[in-house]
Subunit: 363 residues, 2 copies
C-alpha cells in the first residue's frame, strides 16, 4: 500500500485539540488497512512564535513543500496581539499559502439537516443549503505591494495596502470554479465590486471570457455587497460562488455561519496541477482558533476530521476511505452525539475527544 | 420661517418613484406650516449620463455644494453596464461624496417589531435590533491611487486598487462613532483586518487612541470576517459599529438585510462641522436602485421618506417635524399598510404612491 507523506500543523487555540482527534482517526484508518501515512508534525502560528520566534520556520516550510498534503488546525489568538506585524501568527499561514502557490481555496457551506435548527436563519431558508465558495487565495490585497505604514512630516501616519490582480490569476481561479460547477448544478456566481474597483472590472471581464469555454455552465455577476445581502436573504440561490481573496474571506464566513454548522466545515487550499498530475494541498477547518474555548474540550473536531476526509479524496484518490469516514461522521451525528457548538439547548454535549472516539467507533 | 435649500437628486431605477413621494411629503409639511424649503432638482447617475453624457455635471455639483442638504434616490443599473468606468453612474455618487467631503456615513439597521417576521433570521435574534453602522466614506480602496488597469507586454492585464488611510481620516470617523455611542448604549465595535492589512493595523491603533477620550464608552475590536459572522449569529451584540469604506459597504448591507426592513432604512452622509456650526449632508435610502422593480409601483418609499426625516433632524434642527413624520410612518405601518417588500404572504400590498398618501394622511 502506498504510504502518503502527511504534514500535521496543529497551530494555535483549539487547533491542537482537534488535530489530536485526527491523529486518532489516522491511527484507526491505518489499523483497518484503509490508508497508510508517514506522519510529520511541525509548528505554525503562535506556537511557532513561542518556540522559534517566528510563525513559520524555513524547515517547516521545506517540510510542507515536501509533503504530499498538509493538515492545518488554526492559527492566531490574543496571546500574540503585540507581536510585530511581520512575525504575527497569521504570517505563517499566509506564507504557506503564497510560497506553496495554494491559489484555490474551496470552502463548502453545507447545512446538515440534523443541524438546520442551529442556524440563525429560518429552517426553510437553509435546509439543503450546499454552496461551494471558491476563494482566490494568493493574490489581491493580501499580498499586493506596497503594503506599508509611513510616518508623515507632522508625525501622523499613512497606511497603504494594494490590491493587485492579473489576467492569469483570475483565469486560473475561474477555471476551478467552472470545472467544479460542471460536476455540481452547473451554476457559477462571481462576486466583485466592478462599480468601484478596477480589479473588479478586470475580474468581471476575465471571468466572462473564461466562461466562453463552459457553455454548459451559467454565469451570474453579482456585486459583493449585494452578494452578502443575498446570502442572508435567500442563500439557496447560490451553488458555486467565486470571488477574490478579501471578499472571499468575508463572504465565506457569512456562508459558513448560515449553516449553523461552523464547527463541521472543512476546506481545501489547492495549488496548480503539475506535470505529474499532482498538486500541493492544504486542508483546514473553516473555523478559526477560537482561543476563548481552547483547552476546555468544547471544540468540535468534525471540521478537522472532515478536512482529513477531503484530503483522502482530493490529494490521494482514496475515495472509498473518505466515504467511510464521512459516513462514520453522519452516523455519529444521527446517533445524537453533539459537541457544545451544535447541541440543542437543555441537552448534554460531549467533549472533543468523546466525539473523536464516537466517530472512530462508527468506522 | 427659515427656508432651507434642499437639492433633490432622484437618480435611477426606483429613485425617481420614491423621490416623488418625498416631494408630496415636502408639500404637506409646507402646507401644515411645519417646514419650508427652496427645492432644486438635478440629475445624477444614469439619468445624468442619458441627459449630459456624464453622471454628474459641474453645475449639479455646484448646486449640491450650495444646498443646505441633499436628498438622493439611488444610482446605477444594467442599462449603463457598458459605459466607460470613469463616467459610470456610480462615479457621480462617488464624486459627490468625495468633493463634498461626506466622510461619515451613518447607516442604522433597525428591526421594526411589526416587520420582524420578514427577516431571514429567527425573530428572537432580530427583535429589537438597533445597530448604527458608521462607515468611513471618502477614503480607503474607493479613492486611493494608483487605481488602474495596465496592459502587460504579453497582452494580458494587471489591475490595481489602493487602500489608503491616514491617522486624520481614522481619527475623525472614530470621533463620530464614539460621540454617537455616548448618546446610545455606550458601546463601539471597530472592524478591520489588522491581521492582514496595514491599514487595519493603523485603523486599530488610531481608534484605540481616540478611545482614550471616551472613558464612558466601551470599545471592542473585531476582525471584519468575524464581524460578518457575528452579525448573522447574534446581531444584537452590536450597538455602534465603525469600519472602513469597503468593509462598511459589505457589513452595512448584511446588517440592513437582517432587519427584514431594507426598504425602510434611511442613511446620512455627513461632512465636517464648519466654523458656522453647519455641515454638508446627503441623505439617501440604504437600498439601491432596484432596476428590476423600477416603474412598477412596487418600491417602498419609507426609506426615502425616512431620509427626509433624518435631514429635518440632523441638518435643520427640525426635530419636531421629524418626530411628526416618523410617527406618521409608524402609525401607517400599524394600520397595516404594506408595500410588496414587507407584505406578508397572501396579503395584498399597496403601491409606492398609496404608501406615500397613507403617510401624508397620518401627518
Ligand atoms: C487567519 C487569517 C489570515 C485568514 C484570512 O484572512 O485569510 C482567515 O480569516 C481565513 O479566512 O482563513
Ligand atoms: C453604488 C455604490 C458605489 C455604493 C458603494 O459601493 O458605496 C453603494 O453600494 C453604497 O453602499 O452606497
Amino acid at each position: 500500500m502506498t504510504s502518503y507523506k502527511l504534514l500535521l500543523l496543529p497551530g494555535d487555540g483549539i487547533g491542537p485539540e482537534v488535530m489530536a482527534e485526527v491523529e486518532k482517526v489516522i491511527g484507526a484508518l491505518d489499523a483497518l488497512g484503509l490508508a497508510r501515512f508517514e506522519i510529520e508534525r511541525d509548528l505554525v502560528g503562535g506556537s511557532a512564535i513561542d518556540a522559534h520566534g517566528k510563525p513559520l520556520t524555513d524547515e517547516a516550510l521545506a517540510r510542507a513543500d515536501a509533503a504530499d498534503a498538509i493538515l492545518l488546525g488554526a492559527v492566531g489568538g490574543p496571546k500574540w496581539a503585540d507581536v510585530a506585524y511581520e512575525i504575527r501568527p497569521e504570517a505563517g499561514l499566509l506564507r504557506l499559502r503564497k510560497d506553496l502557490g495554494l491559489f484555490a481555496n474551496l470552502r463548502p457551506a453545507i447545512c446538515y439537516p440534523a443541524l438546520a435548527d442551529g442556524s440563525a436563519l429560518k429552517r426553510e431558508l437553509v435546509e439543503g443549503l450546499d454552496i461551494m465558495i471558491v476563494r482566490e487565495l494568493t493574490g489581491g490585497v493580501y499580498f499586493g505591494e506596497p503594503k506599508e505604514i509611513t510616518t508623515l512630516p507632522d508625525g501622523s501616519k499613512r497606511a497603504v495596502d494594494t490590491q493587485v490582480y492579473t489576467t492569469a490569476e483570475i483565469e486560473r481561479i475561474a477555471h476551478v470554479a467552472f470545472d467544479l460547477a460542471r460536476k455540481r448544478s452547473g451554476r457559477v456566481a462571481s462576486a466583485e465590486k466592478h462599480n468601484v474597483m478596477k480589479s473588479g472590472v478586470l475580474w468581471k471581464e476575465v471571468v466572462t471570457k473564461v466562461h466562453a469555454d463552459y457553455s454548459d455552465v451559467t454565469l451570474e455577476h453579482v456585486l459583493a455587497d449585494n452578494c452578502a445581502m443575498q446570502l442572508v436573504r435567500r442563500p439557496k440561490q447560490y451553488d458555486v460562488l467565486v470571488t477574490d481573496n478579501l471578499f472571499g474571506d468575508v463572504l465565506s464566513d457569512v456562508a459558513a455561519m448560515l449553516t449553523g454548522s461552523l464547527g463541521m466545515l472543512p476546506s481545501a487550499s489547492l495549488g496548480a496541477v503539475d506535470a505529474k498530475g499532482s498538486r500541493k494541498a492544504l486542508y483546514e477547518p473553516v473555523h478559526g482558533s477560537a482561543p476563548d474555548i481552547a483547552g476546555k474540550g468544547y471544540a468540535n473536531p468534525i471540521a478537522m476530521i472532515g478536512s482529513l476526509a477531503m484530503c483522502l479524496r482530493y490529494s490521494f484518490g482514496l475515495g472509498e476511505a473518505a466515504d467511510l469516514l464521512d459516513s462514520a461522521v453522519t452516523r455519529t451525528l444521527a446517533s445524537g452525539a453533539r459537541t457544545r457548538d451544535i447541541a440543542a439547548e437543555g441537552t448534554t454535549p460531549i467533549s472533543t475527544s468523546e466525539m473523536g472516539d464516537a466517530i472512530i467507533r462508527e468506522l
